[in-house]
């Protein structure tokens, strides 16, 4: 309907009417977030603050996976491999030189061992690590993606899982650089809520811009119908590559945040359990929904904290349970299976939360795709003015 040129003089103005409240809503949401973060930063204890921070880091990773897999339908199980690359790169850049010496990391090249960021402002060092981590991950993704993005269905899931196993194997065995299974520790804790949420917002914005761009439409088109997309001239391989590489960059950039939050990097933290957790976030929220990924990340970060109370044991009347470690994983896995059976599209499917609330007056159409476009791109395709004329 946007393609039909409107002759009403007020049409242009009424189109922008949709964009203003949307912008206001975004500004309001950002202000509320900033107020909350300032409050959390000032009054939360270290443990709670860490959880608040982890929500943002997980949201970044989940949004990146949504971009890579949700938009294109090319399911990657190798995402955490890029997170590991970013985390190790960040750690190796920002470790104090005494921890990078010959004694601890004999395999490290001399220039990297001598590279000293201890004099830098912590946030500058962190930003630098995130950028380098992202670039290294994106470079690896370009090399890996060139062949792998030609595969489809579970073949690509399996091949990317192979990539994850290879990264894990290298991290576990390249002792001179990674210290093997012991991992790297003594990583300075540079990450704070502002850096983590800043990164998450950048990821969300990047994913959203990509989604509403021609590249994003090409991704969705190739996901929905490969043959039809190619028939209208979509370069499927290129759009998949863009999704894979941008997703890897964002994930790689989240790696240093995680390393500088936790203070250590070990191969076991970047393997199947983590992969599975991120996959649950994305599937729970709805494959292809950015806000769904954020919601999924929040739930999957907070839920284990509440379930941890269950693991410590409990008394149910006459029954008393001792500590049940791993119970939260079981509960989450079962919840995932139930979602798969009863609501395979997740909470949101392809839709986005938030801006849609402002657009109730707009035309309502059936089908996910039709609803995504107006909510994602206010004033671009369908304005409320067009709806009013019906």
């Amino acid at each position: 309907m946007a393609s039909v040129p409107s002759v009403r003089p007020g049409a242009t103005a009424s189109r922008h009417r949709g964009a203003v409240p949307a912008l206001a809503a975004v500004a309001l949401a950002l202000t509320l977030l900033a107020v909350f973060l300032a409050y959390a930063d000032a009054s939360f204890n270290g443990y709670r603050l860490q959880i608040v921070t982890l929500v943002a880091i997980n949201a970044t990773i989940a949004v990146a996976l949504t971009l890579t897999s949700g938009f294109t339908g090319v399911f990657s199980l190798g995402q955490i491999g890029f997170l590991a690359i970013g985390a190790y790169v960040g750690a190796l850049l920002n470790l104090a030189p005494q921890w990078k010496s010959e004694m601890f990391l004999p395999g490290l090249p001399g220039w990297l061992a001598a590279f000293d960021t201890t004099g830098w402002h912590p946030q500058v060092a962190l930003l630098f690590a995130c950028l380098v981590g992202g670039i290294v991950a994106a470079t690896v993704a370009t090399l890996v993606g060139m062949p792998l993005m030609r595969l489809s269905g579970h073949y690509v899931a399996v091949a990317t899982m192979g990539f994850l196993i290879i990264v894990h194997s290298v991290a576990n065995n390249w002792s001179g650089v990674t210290r093997g299974a012991r991992g790297l520790s003594q990583i300075p804790s540079y990450t704070n809520v502002w850096a983590a949420y800043g990164c998450a917002l950048v990821a969300i914005y990047a994913a959203w811009r990509l989604r509403v761009s021609p590249y994003g439409r090409a991704m969705i088109a190739s996901r929905e119908n490969l043959i039809a997309a190619r028939a209208v001239g979509v370069n499927v391989h290129r759009s998949r590559m863009i999704a894979f590489v941008v997703g890897a960059f964002l994930t790689g950039a989240a790696g240093p945040l995680l390393a500088h939050q936790i203070g250590s990097v070990a191969p076991s933290a970047y393997y199947f359990t983590t992969t599975f957790n991120v996959v649950i976030m994305v599937v729970l929220g709805g494959m292809g929904s950015i806000s769904g990924a954020v919601l999924g990340a929040a739930i999957m970060t907070l839920a284990p904290e509440y379930l941890r109370g269950v693991e410590d044991g409990m008394d149910l009347g006459p029954l008393s349970f001792g500590a049940l470690f791993g119970l939260s994983q079981i509960i989450l896995a079962i919840a995932f299976i139930l979602v798969m059976i009863f609501r395979p599209q997740g909470f949101f499917g392809d839709r986005e939360l938030g801006l849609g609330l402002l657009r109730r007056r707009g035309p309502r159409q059936d089908g996910d795709e039709a609803e995504v476009t107006p909510t994602l791109a206010p004033g671009l395709d369908v304005g409320p003015g067009d709806g009013a004329s019906r």
């Binding site: 399911f75 062949p147 792998l148 030609r150 595969l151 489809s152 269905g153 579970h154 073949y155 899931a157 399996v158 091949a159 192979g162 990539f163 196993i165 290879i166 194997s169 290298v170 576990n172 065995n173 490969l226 499927v236 391989h237 998949r240 199947f272 359990t273 599975f276 996959v279 649950i280 599937v283 049940l324 470690f325 791993g326 119970l327 994983q329 079981i330 896995a333 079962i334 995932f336 299976i337 798969m340 059976i341 009863f342 395979p344």
Partner: protein, 297 residues
Amino acid sequence: MSASEFGQQFVNALGLGSIYALVAIGLAMVFGILRLINFAHGEVLMLGAFAAYYFAAAGLPFLVVVLLAVLTTVAIGLLMERVAYRGIRGAPDVALLLTSLAVSIALQNGALLAFDAQPKPFPTPAAIQEQLTVGGIQISVTNLVTVGVALLLMALLTLFVTRTRLGTAMRATAENAMAAQLMGINLSTVIVAAFAIGSALAAVAGILWGARVGRIEPLMGFIPVLKAFVATVIGGFGSIPGAVVGAYLLGFGEIYLVALLPGELSGYRDAFVFAALIVILLFRPQGILGSSEPEKI
């Protein structure tokens, strides 16, 4: 590598390949019919080994232990199919794959709670633990038993698949599920049969793995199922003979890779195995024996 060492490794590789083959057959059978890559198959193997452990602890004779463990495992496999997989039949490939990962994680953590993370010594009968020396080559009886049992079960499976009505129905369903159903084949029966056979073979593989490694623990299923999975990819997804060939190739590749690589590189053997997997997926996604259409863009 000396000749005797080569011979020793040969028997060793045959044993490892046999275990992979038993696991891979179950994966391939379920995949052929459901298009489900069942990651939880490794947990079925683990539960088979633990069932054997607890039946043996009850003081039963070993053959009875094996029989009971197999029956228990088959029951678990069928329960898994009923609870988790029946509800998502026909879902997209990736949804099936992720569900099986969830089942796998639930069972792993359940086993950690129930059996404790501490490895348990596997009660292998003393007769099987011996070493024979034949022509200067040391051969462990465990390896011989493993190879013998695997070959026997594979022969029985071949007879079942080619000579019985149910076996024919399974092959027909794997070929074309829709056409098979139109010919009056009950899909559920076929699926249940596939899970039952796969679980039984996994239980045997779990017991043989326990005898080979000497101890069992809740996370033991992960590595064999990954390797068996690579074997099914090498052989062509869903092809049972292909899975067996792939399993033996992988067993030999792995054993000789470790024997030939310098010590500091042998830790990378999983990386080599999966790099090979990726190369096969890229250049021959239908596997070496498979004939299905490659899914490439």
